[in-house]
Amino acid sequence: MRTRPYPAWISRLFILLVAALTFTGFMQMPLAKRYALTTVPGMAWTGDFFLVHKIHYVLGVALLFLVALVAVNWIKSWKNTLALTGLGLARAGVVFGLVVSGLLRVYRNLPGVTLDPAAILAIEWVHLTLVMVLGVLALVAIIRKSSAYAVRR
């Protein structure tokens, strides 16, 4: 089956990173202890806010590298042979928004940086909302059996 005209490792790495980021992102909310996730063998780390936060950063770094690499290759050579699907475009936009809001979040956390409380609120909620939108879009893509972001022209 030729669902994706681009290499499988990109899809797999992307899905893995986004899934891990979503999980560690949701664990930023104080849920692990309340819902006893920390008592599941091997999951005690989910209760360590700082550890989960750092893992989220590291995963974010990996995603940023991958997204930039793909974007450059798209511009350099793929755009003539590949076309983004509608759902692909929507998801690419959402991923872009997540990346930007995530980077702003990282910036906010630097010592010496103090942003306007309204800006922080916006960053926070855009990031949280977009991840949910991405989830919905991914679900739609699976149901419609069009999970590839791009198709051959």
Binding site: Y6, P7, W9, A36, A68, L69, W78, N109, A122, E124
Partner: protein
């Protein structure tokens, strides 16, 4: 505690500041008139305000504790009861201080400042040190940085605040605060209107440096009321200089300069803080409940007695990782431009090169 006696004094000091034309972020420095005299009217860009507490002066009268309550009483929670039933009930328990509003020997949602006492011997001399404790107003506050909802924030004038209208009461800020300062009251706030059984548990409360007073160019209540001028507030660089000078004068020690990467609350004491930390009644931080006062049952209402031990910069790793986060897209682009990607990417899934 004749707190009324100090009222007149507090008001007159406010009058003095007003007369001086000191603006919202001015050098509100009662203890250092030379600094206060410098013109800084209405310049919030002046940066963070810090406070200095001269512990050699505090007589433990408690006027500041009373004044804090009075000044902030309008912000105190009025919970709706009965509290929503929460799931799972074994793990999500309400924290209720509303029937214990008078508790003043620890931090609670109704008591944002309390006094610790340390009787220590140092270099052959006995000291009885009183320590007003409240939020340290960290320079890079984890309570604000780690809040997943943007409810906790640091302001440009150097104080951290938790918005009662946005806080879900998950108490993450308390968990990540090196001193476990914010305190929870259930039955108030946003969570009641969302999914009260499943998420949230009230609102977190702590010292907000009397922002309502600061914004008007007035001193925070605890500073204004103090009969001994224990506290001084002003631009951080001036407060740091003053703290160092004071420490030199009394051959003493400073707490807050390095702790958690630097706080906007500096304590200066004639005795080392290790001794103080060992002597105070505390239930947070390393060695809590072990040293000093002997074993003590952990309160179900969360720690409210901060320690005075060393604190590393808890956000330091994030700061280092931030560099990687900003370099990663650049590296990805560079790798792509240099053609690292093109070979790897040229083959599609189950695809043939044509």
């Amino acid at each position: 505690m004749s707190e009324k006696k100090y009222r007149a004094k507090a008001v007159s000091r406010r009058g003095f500041l007003k007369a001086l034309g000191v603006g919202s972020a001015g050098a509100l420095i009662p203890a250092a008139p030379t600094l206060a005299a410098q013109e800084r009217a209405g310049a919030p860009s002046d940066g963070e305000l810090a406070t200095l507490l001269d512990l050699s002066k505090c007589i433990g009268c408690g006027a500041c504790v009373e004044a804090c309550r009075e000044s902030n009483s309008a912000k105190f929670p009025e919970p709706v009861k009965p509290f929503p039933d929460m799931l799972p009930s074994r793990r999500a328990k309400p924290e209720d201080w509303s029937d214990m509003r008078d508790v003043d020997d620890r931090l609670t949602p109704y008591n944002w400042l309390f006094l610790q006492n340390a009787v220590v011997e140092y270099e052959g001399k006995p000291y009885a040190i009183n320590i007003p404790r409240r939020c340290m107003h960290c320079q890079n506050p984890p309570c604000a940085n780690m809040c997943p909802f943007g409810a906790a924030n640091k302001q440009v004038n150097g104080l951290t605040r938790i918005s009662p209208g946005l806080c879900m009461g998950g108490a993450k800020c308390r968990a990540v605060c090196p001193w476990h300062i914010p305190q929870r009251q259930s039955g108030v706030g946003l969570y009641r209107h969302l999914m009260p059984r499943l998420a949230g548990n009230g609102v977190m409360y702590k010292c907000d440096r009397c922002h309502q007073l600061l914004d008007q160019g007035e001193l925070p209540a605890c500073i204004a009321v103090c009969p001994e001028d224990v506290q001084t507030i002003g631009p951080r660089h001036e407060i740091v200089a003053r703290a160092k000078e004071l420490a030199r004068e009394m051959n003493g020690f400073i707490y807050g300069l390095e702790e958690n990467g630097g706080t906007n609350t500096l304590y200066v004491s004639p005795v080392p803080f290790e001794l103080i930390d060992r002597a105070i009644d505390k239930d947070s931080g390393p060695g809590a409940n072990k040293a000093g006062k002997g074993k003590r049952k952990r309160t179900p209402l969360g720690p409210g007695k901060p320690h005075m031990g060393p604190v590393k910069d808890v956000m330091a790793d994030e700061t280092n990782l931030a560099a990687a986060a900003f370099i990663a897209p650049v590296a990805g682009i560079a790798a792509g431009v240099l053609g690292l990607g093109s070979k790897l990417l040229s083959k599609g899934e189950g695809d043939h090169e044509d």
